[in-house]
Amino acid sequence: MFNSTLIPLMVVFPLIAAVLVNFMHQKNMSVKIIAIVSSIVVILVPLMTLYGVHLFSGHIRTESFPGISKLLIPDVYMGIVYSYGALQKILLALLTVVTVFVVMLSITRKLISGVYVAMIFISLASVSAIILADDFFNFFVFTEVLTVAQAALVIAVKETKSHKAAFKYMIFGNISGGSILLGIALLLGVYGLLNMTDLSNAIKAGGALQPVALTAVALITVGWLYESGLFPFHIVKSNMYENAIPETAALLQLQSKFVLVAMSIALLRIFSGYPLLKSVMLGFAIFTVVIGSVMGLQQTDLRKLLSFVAVGQAGLVAMGIGLGTPFSISAGVFHAINDVLSMAILFFVAGFILESYKTTKLDQLGEGLKKAPLVGLIMFLATIAISGVPPFNSYQSELRLIQSAVQAGYPELGILVILLSVATFVAIIKAFYMIFLKPGTNIEADPKVRGTMHKTIIVILIVMCLFIGLFPNLIYDPIYNTIVALGV
């Protein structure tokens, strides 16, 4: 069997880089060099790796056990398996690109230490593992690592508010981690398997779910809600985004949306014959969409506004996935990819504003267009990109979401998607007006802040948005084919 050997490098290499950077804590020059070199490698590895599966320590698939086996299916994997396909390639390429942007922005700042960069690399490694893993326990371990790494990134801000946000995040992370592991344990007790492909086959072969397996579904769904920041946990997530450094918040929202995609696809694969799960996902997603956008409209601080909008958009992604047809699932995944780019631009703009004005409170800002015309222009473009105006990428995915909602028999949800994009537009254009156009301001911009790196990065990202908007099929077709092939 073909064993693709480069696949674990996507997880192992960022971990090695994290350890190295962590050792070089006080030495700024070596941290810079190591970070730049590892960034280049990190970007190159997903592009160079061939599609395939990696079987850890060479445990091949067993043929069948003799009569002693009590398993429902004869043919199982014996070790941890990572699989790498077109969908994983797209997600990982985007993840590494945005992570490298954030690393570049971090090492240009004076205050940021080696430990901070190390945490960024650890979170990169864990999200890669979550996207790649085909083994449920491996998946769980890396969600826990991701929780700690994200909390550490927020703690690094050294304000009391961010400490409180991180404490809340970790307490609820403990609840959700416990419930995911309990669900895995119950599934292991019932079916004796941990591999997702095998579990899916075994559950199909075993007929209707028993009460114990139903409990497992409910517990894993609680974990899913937490990892993706949906309804009861949306406050916790938006608190994290709001209290992190805005550049890091761009990374955090990207990570949680990708974990949402990976975990939803895993859940839909495992419990593919269980339609109630999709309805529950849809219900929580709709609730999150509405509450996220309503709360976003009410905010007067740019970071808080953007974090609620990010939560609402995550709900939109989950809505596409919860509709449950292959078309809607791929539209949801496509929307996750598009939305992550435009949200990242907006958070980077927020980072620039925080750096040059030392505040993000909307009623204190104003007349920014004279100071930074380029940033203003790109924020406007990103605003119309995120609210689904044609030349940009979110238009393509929101169109597909509406089409799939109508096809699945819920035209009302199409209306809801349109309303949400209108609300998002109103919320962010309000912020745009108050920062860049509103006459009269009482704070001065810091003339020393040039923000060359910020400007370069947001120009690159808006060009990427435009490119995906003009050629959507380059991204969309591989996703659709993967989803159809997975048979969720």
Partner: protein
């Protein structure tokens, strides 16, 4: 299922529910952390209970395995089928080892955070730390 296994599962249920109650209802910040620890303990007990087989062999310390034994040569110590019928299931044990270590690390981060929050607010009450004083940055 064995009676002892059932007892272990019931105890695990009590642990998880007690921990959840402590996390959700208790006001003291250290009690919340204790509750988080109890949840982890309960889940570990469930996993260990799955692997139990009454009177079974312990795979890690069984005398059938010598230092020289390689997987292909199990047969001359004990037939593999016979071994598989007698040994306890050791996959969950490996999972629990991982989970104990993860739990300890998250716990230490939470404790450190609660110490930091105490130095800011001079109280351990969650009510006083998280509610009120919202306007102060």
């Amino acid at each position: 299922m064995e009676p002892f296994q059932v007892g272990a599962f019931l105890t695990a249920g009590i642990l998880v529910i007690t921990g959840l109650w402590a996390v959700i209802m208790m006001d003291n910040i250290l009690k919340k952390v204790i509750g988080a620890n109890l949840i982890g303990d309960g889940v570990n007990l469930v996993l260990i209970g799955i692997g139990y087989r009454p009177g079974g062999l312990v795979p890690e310390v069984t005398h059938q395995f010598h230092a020289t034994a390689v997987p292909s040569s199990f047969s001359h110590f004990l037939a593999f089928n016979e071994f598989a019928n007698q040994a306890s299931y050791s996959l969950p044990f490996a999972l629990v080892l991982t989970n104990i270590v993860i739990g300890a690390s998250t716990l230490s981060v939470m404790l450190a955070l609660s110490v930091v929050l105490y130095h800011k607010y001079h109280t351990l009450s969650v009510q006083k730390i998280f509610e009120g004083m919202e306007e102060e940055d």
